[in-house]
């Protein structure tokens, strides 16, 4: 199984990648997903997280097969 990780907007440009597949056979924390997908240690405080296209907080667990996205504050409308 794998976890699909997406980055959007300024975060995508800063990291130089838009999506990453992580191998995962057991649940991971958001912090672990961030570290493995971004190559950075700490999840910046203003980065928003979604799991399977629903907002999640930094304490959520990610299951194998999930889609996780990291993105900056939204600016639509």
């Amino acid at each position: 199984m794998s976890i699909k990780v997406l980055f959007f907007a300024s975060l995508r440009e800063r990291l130089g990648r838009g999506d990453v597949q992580l191998d995962a056979s057991s649940p991971l924390s958001i912090a672990e997903v961030w570290q493995q997908a971004s190559g950075e240690i700490c999840l910046p405080a203003n980065v928003l997280v979604s799991i399977n296209q629903t907002y999640a907080d930094a304490t959520a667990q990610v299951q194998p097969g999930d889609e996780v996205a990291f993105f900056p504050p939204v600016t639509g409308g």
Binding site: S50, Y55, G76
Partner: protein, 146 residues
């Protein structure tokens, strides 16, 4: 009824509402329609803006907009809600967002329309990147206040 649409090209909000109305003309059930249209300006934070790119999260963006509309229908007594939002390359004076709410009561229509806009601004996954007149680009890092 709830309608959510993303447009990767310019749309005319009044044309959209004309078409919407034509399909519902005979029901005559909504006494109050409240509408908000957000339009791209040619300046922001003191700089001249030439164009804007609006990135979104395909799938999640539509789901969020639908959830925002459904939530408003739970809170207020609404007949119909429609949310139309641009994506992609946008020019000054283009419509960015249309929110329209139909209700039997004007207070509910106004309150729901305004609420939907505020929630959309804070929760719908869209990101604006501006191209200034001098050619530089920048991500808009926060929304304008309510």
């Amino acid at each position: 009824m709830i309608a959510v649409e993303l447009h990767d090209g310019s749309f005319d909000p009044w044309r959209y509402l004309t078409d919407w109305q034509q399909t519902r003309q005979l029901s005559a059930r909504s006494g109050a329609t409240a509408v908000f249209v957000g339009t791209m300006r040619d300046f922001n934070e003191g700089d001249d803006v030439q164009s804007m790119y609006l990135e979104h999260y395909p799938g999640m963006t539509e789901n969020q907009l639908h959830a925002i509309a459904a939530d408003a229908q739970q809170t207020w007594s609404l007949d119909d809600v429609c949310i139309v939002h641009r994506t992609g390359e946008i020019r000054p004076a283009d419509a960015i967002v249309l929110v329209a709410v139909w209700s039997a009561h004007r207070a509910e229509a106004f309150a729901a329309c305004r609420h939907i806009m505020e929630v959309l601004k804070h929760h719908a996954p869209f990101w604006k990147k501006e191209t200034l007149r001098n050619g530089t680009t920048r991500w808009v890092d926060k929304n304008t206040p309510g």
